[in-house]
């Protein structure tokens, strides 16, 4: 009996932590159903379809030179575009948050336009401008720089569609970064440059990473605007989504799903890595608590 008294009653392992917020079962059930219908089942179908080739056939289809070329073009340009977006998106967010100037609100609203614009329209507009005879393209043509119909064009289209993601993730965080921290830095003798690079930017890091991930993911999946400006030369400016479309037109459905699956795996790996870095930095600096 004494043993029974001295040991605390052992609670059976439970699937969830007790919580005062009701509705766990309902919300989890809904989440799982929704998640399955919208995301999981289509993705599994994709994997199953491509697995029909068997490991060897899959490997052969995935390592086809043209497929590898298109994947390289897609991921390299998307990483460059996300990198560029992070730099200039942060700058734009800074400008919108920190200064009051006429037309700020209109400017702020325009940032979202790439979200709303049909991507084909964006692609045609960008091509018209950046083509060698276009307004901007004509400026670069004498220098021998071609933008449209090269990977540079792809990067530009990706920057266009990815920008809002970066600006919109950094903006609210920047608004929250306490003015006091900047003042503290100044009272300690730091100049503006030191304050920005040692105090403000590090505290924006989680938001910058999120913005990068979103812009990158969006750029990898982009199709509509890029095919107009890219020129679509295999091994040079042919993106993976376009190759998938070409495979479909050839009625090579399995080939298309193989490319899609590989894209998915690479994207997932990169996004997962970014998420890990973010979780680590959040834990370490105590953001979000």
């Amino acid at each position: 009996m004494s043993a029974a008294v001295s040991t605390a009653p052992r609670r059976a392992w439970s699937f969830r932590q007790p919580s005062v917020i009701p509705g766990f079962g309902l919300t989890l059930g809904f989440t799982l159903t929704y998640f399955s219908l919208i995301i999981l089942i289509p993705l599994i179908a994709l994997a199953v379809r491509s697995a029909g080739l068997g490991p060897e056939g899959f490997w052969k289809a995935a390592t086809d030179a043209r497929v590898l070329g298109s994947l390289r073009v897609s991921f390299v340009t998307a990483l460059i575009a996300a990198g560029v977006n992070v730099v200039f998106g942060t700058l734009i967010a800074w400008c919108l948050v920190r200064y009051r100037f006429p037309g700020r609100r209109i400017f702020d609203a325009i940032i979202d336009l790439p979200f709303a614009l049909p991507t084909a329209v964006a692609g045609i507009a960008l091509t018209a401008i950046y083509a060698p005879n276009g307004t901007v393209g004509a400026l670069f043509a004498p220098l021998g720089w071609r933008i449209a119909y090269t990977p540079a064009g792809i990067v530009i289209a990706m920057i266009f569609i990815g920008l809002p993601f970066v600006v919109r993730t950094i903006q609210p965080i920047l608004e929250e970064v306490s003015h006091e921290v900047e003042e503290a830095s100044a009272t300690l003798g730091a100049n503006r440059f030191q304050t920005i690079f040692h105090v403000i930017l590090p505290s924006l890091m989680p938001a910058i990473l999120t913005g990068f991930a979103l812009a990158f993911a969006r750029a990898v999946g982009e199709y509509g605007s890029i095919i107009f400006i890219a020129g679509n030369i295999p091994f040079v400016s042919e993106i993976a989504p376009l190759l998938i479309y070409i495979r479909l037109q050839e009625f090579n459905y399995v080939g298309a799903t193989v490319i899609a699956t590989v894209m998915l795996l690479i994207s997932f790996a990169i996004l997962f890595l970014i998420n890990l870095i973010q979780a680590w930095s959040r834990r370490r600096y105590g953001y979000g608590n």
């Binding site: 306490s178 009272t187 600096y285």
Partner: protein
């Protein structure tokens, strides 16, 4: 370092926050800027720091005019109410930040920076926490880190903006004592802002009581408490009761009755009488303030009763011994032992 504030005025968007304020801060003293919110105390502190620029007037650090200097050039230590620690840096990095950002010519070598930071960590009694991040510390610990960070640059003046405002009562009292010890040990000229009069009375060498953008009174805690120079100061510092009175024949009258308090050299006419609730004596005599108890409650070691004086519905508070039998509707007569008369507003 001596700090002189000379006829400083500050307006925010044409809204005046400080009117023509002058204040001499002695070298090595711990002075409190005390006032209700909106009194301009934080504005004055930020002007001294250089975080705001005065609309008019000058601020001197010693003999040099600091008004035109930037925050960075003033070499001040500033402690914020909400700590404002850099949360992506460890405690050690936070404390050494001020030394690390110095230009190469005046920056101590890395080993020296580390040694100084560790010394300060010792001073603020946080030895062993140098590798933690701010979010791993309690509020009181964070504020101590903030103080160590401010002290690291060997500031000419240490400025604290409601340093204990965000902490709970017990930590507050501890830190108060501790800040006093640190000040006595390091001897920095220190200015701190507070709206807590108890804190100001206990901690400071001198108080500067502010209200509505003006300085009401500057003096030692004793002077300000015992000899307030304005009704505002009397009401703001310590407990107080007030009653409209009439000065006539060298005596004070309430509702047509002399209350047994000599008027001194006050000019005849209407006036306001101020006294402390604990500084009264109960009397039997006729010439006294008499009233009926309307509420009574126990406050620590005493019983505070609210008396209704006369028919005009004036209420005053008076402290009685906790075991005094007075209950509701009891009639009490008392005389203030010490009091102050101010002209009627």
């Amino acid at each position: 370092m001596e700090v002189r504030v000379q006829n400083v005025r500050k307006e925010f968007d044409r809204f005046p926050a400080l009117h023509d304020v002058s204040l001499d801060i002695h070298s090595g003293e711990l002075i409190a800027l005390l006032g209700p919110s909106g009194s301009g105390k934080t504005t004055l502190l930020r002007l001294i720091a250089g975080l705001e620029m005065p609309t008019a007037g000058k601020i001197f650090f010693g003999d040099t005019d600091a008004s035109e200097k930037t925050v960075q050039e003033r070499n001040i230590g500033f402690v914020f109410q909400h700590y404002a620690l850099f949360r992506h840096m460890t405690i050690l990095e936070n404390i050494s930040f001020g030394l690390k950002v110095r230009p190469r010519s005046t920056r101590p070598p890395n080993g020296e920076i580390r040694r100084r930071a560790m010394e300060l960590l010792d001073l603020v009694q946080l030895t062993g926490l140098e590798k933690r991040y701010p979010n791993q510390l309690s509020g009181g610990q964070r504020q101590r880190v903030a103080l160590a960070r401010a002290l690291a640059i060997e500031p000419a003046v240490l400025l604290l903006d409601e340093p204990f405002g965000a902490l709970d009562a017990q930590v507050r009292r501890e830190l108060r004592k501790w800040l006093r010890e640190i000040h006595d040990r390091t001897g920095h000229t220190t200015v701190f802002v507070t709206h807590d009069q108890e804190e100001a009375l206990e901690l400071s060498d001198r108080l500067c009581v502010m209200s509505q953008g003006k300085i009401e009174q500057v003096g030692t805690p004793d002077t300000v408490y015992d000899h307030p120079t304005s009704p505002f100061v009397f009401g703001f510092i310590g407990e107080s009761s007030t009653l409209p009175v009439t000065v006539e024949n060298g005596e004070l009258w309430v509702g047509g009755r002399a209350i047994g308090v000599p008027a001194g050299d006050a000019t005849p006419g209407d006036a306001r009488l101020f006294f402390r609730p604990h500084d009264v004596e109960l009397v039997e005599a006729d010439a006294s303030l008499a009233g009926v108890v309307s509420t009574s409650r126990r406050v620590g070691g005493t019983r505070r009763v609210e008396l209704e004086i006369g028919g005009a519905g004036h209420h005053v508070e008076v402290d009685l011994p906790f075991d005094h039998p007075a209950g509701e509707k009891t009639r009490l007569a008392f005389r203030p032992r010490r009091w102050k008369l101010f002209p009627a507003a």
